[in-house]
């Protein structure tokens, strides 16, 4: 079964303990200066965005049909059965197509390093494999970040909205966005406010529609070009043969005259 994270912004108190736990798990430094940084980056894989007294966690959404994994030429990014989208740094060539393609702007690069890596939240894939929750969910003191089965969390999210329709925007973000994500969000204000607006269709189909035609282009194109060559070449051969015949014909006549 696929795991997921449910983040309920109405319960969040902006204590940033999820940020700290995430940094510790990923062996990244965390102090007041990092806490003050208002963006995710190669050294801060999640952060709590504050718009007035409204909060929103930003982290990798670990999409069901991840754009990053579809564009990666070497398959360094992969969707695992448990839910996390993982990154294998030994494969990565550093083309940064994942950064360009991700609709959430999640993958970040270690620009300062000579041999850089892409960094992003991988939903604590190793902890999940060991049957443990993500570090952020474990650290959350209010239950704003909750870890569990995706199906169960979706049901719970819908239930929370149904029980208190005035407290929530009637939308479970991540249920359908880009084909669904393993991080589900609830909010009392529109998600647009936090820059979260993505199409509901999965993006990989956009390129796959073209890529899946390649075998046709190659086989049809090959036959077509070969055919054109055969016709034009034949035409030239015939012309050359005719040109050869004519002077010899004349010569024969001349010979006959003699």
């Amino acid at each position: 079964m696929s795991k997921a994270i449910l983040y309920d912004a109405t319960v969040c108190i902006d204590c940033k303990l999820c940020e700290r736990a995430c940094a510790e798990r990923n062996m990244l430094p965390y102090g007041d200066n990092v806490a003050a940084e208002e963006t995710i980056s190669a050294h801060k894989l999640t952060f709590v965005m504050a718009k007035g007294d409204k909060f929103m966690r930003r982290l990798c959404m670990n999409c069901q049909d991840p754009t990053c994994a579809s564009v990666c030429p070497v398959g360094a990014l992969r969707k695992t059965d448990l839910g996390p989208v993982t990154y294998d740094e030994t494969r990565c060539i550093g083309c940064r197509y994942c950064m360009l393609a991700c609709p959430f702007g999640v993958p970040k690069y270690e620009w300062g390093k000579v041999l850089p890596r892409v960094r992003k939240c991988d939903m604590c894939a190793d902890r999940l494999a060991a049957g443990r929750p993500t570090a952020c969910a474990e650290a959350c003191p209010t239950g704003a970040t909750k870890f569990g089965e995706r199906d169960e969390l979706i049901a719970e999210a819908k239930d929370r909205i149904a029980k208190a329709p005035n407290q929530y925007v009637n939308h479970v973000y991540g249920l359908q966005e880009v084909g669904g994500t393993s991080v589900l969000l609830l909010s009392s204000v529109p998600f647009d406010l936090f820059g979260l607006h993505t199409p509901t269709e999965p993006l990989p189909i956009l390129t796959y529609r073209v890529l899946s035609r390649l075998p046709d282009i190659v086989s049809l194109g090959g036959v077509l070009l070969g055919g054109v060559w055969w016709i034009t070449h034949r035409r030239a051969e015939v012309a050359a043969a005719e040109a050869k015949e004519r002077p010899t014909g004349k010569q024969n006549e001349e010979d006959g005259n003699k």
Binding site: P116, L206, I217, A236
Partner: protein, 398 residues
């Protein structure tokens, strides 16, 4: 007074190469962050937008001309096949060189060949660039074999030339278009003036346009540089094909803008609109108007100028897709750092130098073949007039 001009250009080239060498040092000792203006918000810059996207586009003459001569049997274009194949080969070498700078881990450039992800456009581009560079190298080998008088190797090459050309045309079609497909995945990020489901088609047709324009441009430049006679009637017919290709592209492009309801963006004055209009004016409208005019089309200067406009226009187009169109969604403006410019500049200079050397020492141009024949029959010095005669008499003999 030709000497000062010569040293002036030489000095510029040396300065660019020195700056490029220092920039290379910075790139590989300090990393991408210190040596470029790239960032998390703008991960692809000049090296992808110009070196890779334009490099591949400018090399399109290779597949256009080989297809015309070998497949469609348009024999009269044969004299300009070699210089175009050479340019294409150099173009691809430079693309690969640029990738070695741009990739975060350049020593893993071979990974896509063994670690497959057929769902990735980048994977397809990697394979096509590798295969097509190999095909171009093979298409180029007879020139070296001839120089070294390797008759047997020449015969083998001759036997496989048609499959090779067909493979080359297919590979070019695939990845000229797939450079456009790369951007299909960013419908929310690329400005609607450029984002279209037809991006791969636009990239392919424009590659043909640029291939033709570059062939005219190169023929003109090499006629200047090597005192070689310009095959004007040949170039005029290329100009005719070019204007048709441009017209097809223009109609398709504007139809697409209309169908997607994107024409309304042209009414918003702004940075994107200005650059779109620049691209369309210099790359499409001006050259079409010029080439439609018989007097301009049939003059050396007019042909040359319109082909330069086409090339510049489509360079603008590629930079618009890769840079201009992505800036609004990134929320920042990108302008390359001096290091990025120096490395790109060095690549261009390097390309020029190699082309000049190859043109000097290898039988690239028909005249060069004539002079090789001359040296065999013992003529040491000829005037340009006899040189032309010699070519003609050879042609007649053949």
């Amino acid at each position: 007074m030709r000497l000062p001009k010569f040293t002036f250009w030489k000095t510029i080239m040396v300065i660019v190469l020195l700056a490029g060498a220092y920039a290379t040092l910075l790139r590989f000792t300090r990393g991408l962050g210190a040596s470029t203006n790239l960032s998390d918000r703008f991960p692809w810059g000049l090296w992808i937008g110009f070196d890779v996207m334009c490099g591949v586009m400018l090399a399109a003459g290779g597949f256009t001309l080989t297809a015309a001569v070998y497949i469609f049997n348009l024999e009269r274009f044969r004299p300009i096949v070699r210089p175009t194949v050479l340019t294409a080969f150099l173009g691809y070498c430079l693309v690969v060189a640029a990738l070695l700078f741009d990739l975060g881990r350049p020593y893993r450039i071979w990974h896509p060949l063994v670690m497959w992800n057929p769902h990735s456009v980048m994977f397809e581009v990697a394979w096509c660039v590798t295969l097509y560079t190999t095909v171009l190298a093979l298409e180029f080998t007879p020139i070296i074999f001839e120089r070294l008088r390797l008759e047997k190797a020449l015969r083998i090459q001759h036997a496989i030339v048609i499959p090779l050309v067909i493979l080359g045309v297919l590979l070019s079609t695939l990845h000229q278009s797939s450079l456009g497909s790369l951007y299909l995945i960013v419908p929310e990020k690329l400005h609607p003036l450029w984002y279209s489901p037809l991006l791969p088609v636009f990239f392919f047709i424009s590659a043909i346009c640029v291939g033709l324009a570059m062939t005219i441009f190169e023929s003109y430049m090499s006629s200047k540089a090597f005192g070689k006679q310009l095959e004007l009637p040949l170039l005029i017919s290329l100009g005719r094909v070019l204007v048709v290709a441009l017209a097809v592209y223009t109609v398709l492009r504007f139809e697409d803008l209309y169908n997607r309801g994107a024409l309304k963006y042209l009414r918003h004055p702004g940075y994107e609109t200005d650059l779109f209009l620049l691209e369309v004016t210099i790359g499409l409208l001006l050259p079409i108007a010029m080439l439609m005019n018989r007097k301009i089309r049939e003059s050396t200067g007019g042909l040359y100028l319109s082909s330069v406009l086409v090339v510049l226009g489509f360079i603008t187009n590629r930079l618009n897709v890769a840079v201009t169109g992505m800036e609004a969604s990134a929320g920042i403006r990108y302008f390359p750092k001096w290091t990025e410019l120096a490395i790109t500049g060095s690549m261009i200079v390097g390309g020029f130098v190699v082309f000049t050397l190859a043109a000097k020492y290898l039988p690239i141009f028909p005249e060069a073949q004539a002079s090789a024949a001359r040296s065999r029959i013992g003529i040491t010095s000829v005037t340009p007039a006899t040189r032309v005669d010699l070519t003609f008499s050879q042609a007649r003999k053949a």
